[in-house]
């Protein structure tokens, strides 16, 4: 049985690295990531689970880091936007003007990374269902849609080439 005391040093696996960090058991994951470890890519848009700006991957699954207590992720693999290095999604976001102020962008990108890892050929219904978890206030979403379609299209092309 795992026990995390009210203030305790734990090991978190973040972006493939083991990070030892002292946390309070009552502390939210977002606060540990931002304030104790400097992963400021996850954004506190609402801290209420409504906007998705703080989305990270936990064992590959998109989760809202403001809606989790840090002890819940002990033993799990966390990926933040800082853990991505020039993915197709990131490139497509740039090419299709899928962000403006950039504040919601890490959350959207992490959600899309989770989506495309699970659904290699996501259809529009699945994409909508997943992306409705996040809020963007600058773009019209049409740009993001184009970016995702582009990634899927290129993926299909690469797949065909391999065959």
């Amino acid at each position: 049985m795992l026990h995390v005391g009210s203030l305790e040093k734990v090991r978190l696996n973040i972006n493939g690295h083991n990070r030892w960090v002292t946390i309070k058991a009552s502390e939210r994951l977002i606060d540990v990531l931002r304030n104790r470890l400097g992963y400021t890519g996850c954004k506190p848009g609402c801290l209420n689970g409504d906007c998705g700006a703080c989305t990270v991957l936990v064992d590959g699954v998109p989760m809202k880091s403001c809606m989790m207590l840090a002890p819940q992720v002990v033993g799990k693999a966390i990926t933040t936007i800082e853990g991505l290095e020039g993915t197709d999604v990131q490139k497509a976001f740039i090419e299709h003007n899928a962000f403006q102020c950039g504040y919601c962008t890490p959350g959207f990108i992490m959600n899309i990374e989770g989506l495309l890892a699970k659904h290699r050929h996501a259809d529009e219904a699945i994409i909508e269902d997943w992306l409705q978890s996040n809020i963007c206030r600058c773009t019209s979403y049409q740009e993001m849609k184009a970016a995702i379609q582009d990634v899927l299209h290129k993926r299909d092309q690469n797949h065909e080439e391999l065959e």
Partner: protein, 274 residues
């Protein structure tokens, strides 16, 4: 506020922890997905000195058929239930709760045991006469959902839901499930209505209309009354709503009744009016 976190891996361990922490004055609370605990804590509305995370107990992660029953562990997330689709009515109804990412947090057990008034995942269980496997200090017990759930779950301190069991033939019945919102795709329901037909009779459970989810015998009697045309049954059904229709800034009671009326019409159109 000092708080401690415990992650037991067996049912027994969880129960023992609860007892020990209670005796030690550490005011324990069970946690599953944790969304409600985190949300309420923001406004100092949740008090507990220790949390017992139930999601790492293998029995709560089961998704399996056991004899005559489909067994769903209480720690399955709503997305896991929707994706596995072992219980299509529940899969669909659960897939409309909150938003997709949040459904990676919310569990079946959490949704039906929480403080939230909507508890939409319970509606399919109510119409399907599901059973709950409950862990208590006296041991495990299997009880009909109707024995435990009336407006909200009535569990003794220390008790918690381990699994939900639903008869195999109940999970594949033709169903109707719809969620009506004020306007947005992500919102609490004006009403969520699920219905199935058993032996030619409609069973209906509704959330959002009143301050609690319900399945009403009186309403089902009216809705199944063969002596009246469907339109008259709907009018009668509106008269036997088992509580005050919510009347707030999100929607007026009058409008909510209108939405119920159109939804019942859609239900008859989908499942047949007899």
């Amino acid at each position: 506020m000092a708080m401690e976190y415990y992650r037991p891996t067996t049912i027994k361990e969880a129960l023992q922890l609860y007892q020990q922490l209670s005796y030690a004055g550490k005011n324990p609370a069970y946690m599953s997905g944790g969304t409600e605990i985190v949300t309420l804590s923001r406004f100092h509305l949740f008090q507990a000195a220790s949390l017992i995370d139930l999601t790492h107990i293998p029995e709560t992660r089961v998704h399996d058929v056991d004899g005559n029953h489909l067994v769903l562990g209480a720690s399955l997330t709503l997305n896991e239930i929707s994706e596995k689709n072992g219980f299509p009515l529940l899969a669909v109804t659960a897939s409309r709760v909150a938003d997709h990412t949040t459904r990676n947090h919310i569990t079946l057990g959490g949704n039906i045991s929480g403080k939230i008034i909507y508890k939409e995942a319970i509606l399919p269980l109510l119409v399907s006469d599901s059973l709950l496997l409950i862990a208590s200090f006296e041991g495990l017990k299997t009880v009909p959902i109707h024995a435990v759930f009336h407006k909200e779950p009535h569990l003794s301190p220390g008790e918690w839901v381990v699994q939900v069991l639903t008869e195999k033939n109940a999970v594949d019945r033709p169903f109707f499930s719809v969620k009506k919102r004020k306007i947005d795709v992500i919102d609490y329901p004006l009403l969520t209505l699920t219905a199935i037909k058993v032996d030619g009779k409609l069973r209906v459970a509704i959330s959002g209309l009143c301050d609690f989810p319900f399945r009403s015998v009186a309403m089902e009697q009216v809705l199944n009354d063969p002596s009246r045309p469907v339109s008259a049954r709907i009018i009668e059904a509106l008269k036997v709503i088992p509580g005050d229709v919510r009347n707030d800034w999100i929607a007026s009671a009058e409008y909510r009744r209108f939405v119920l009326q159109t939804t019942l019409e859609e239900m008859y159109a989908a499942l047949g009016g007899m």
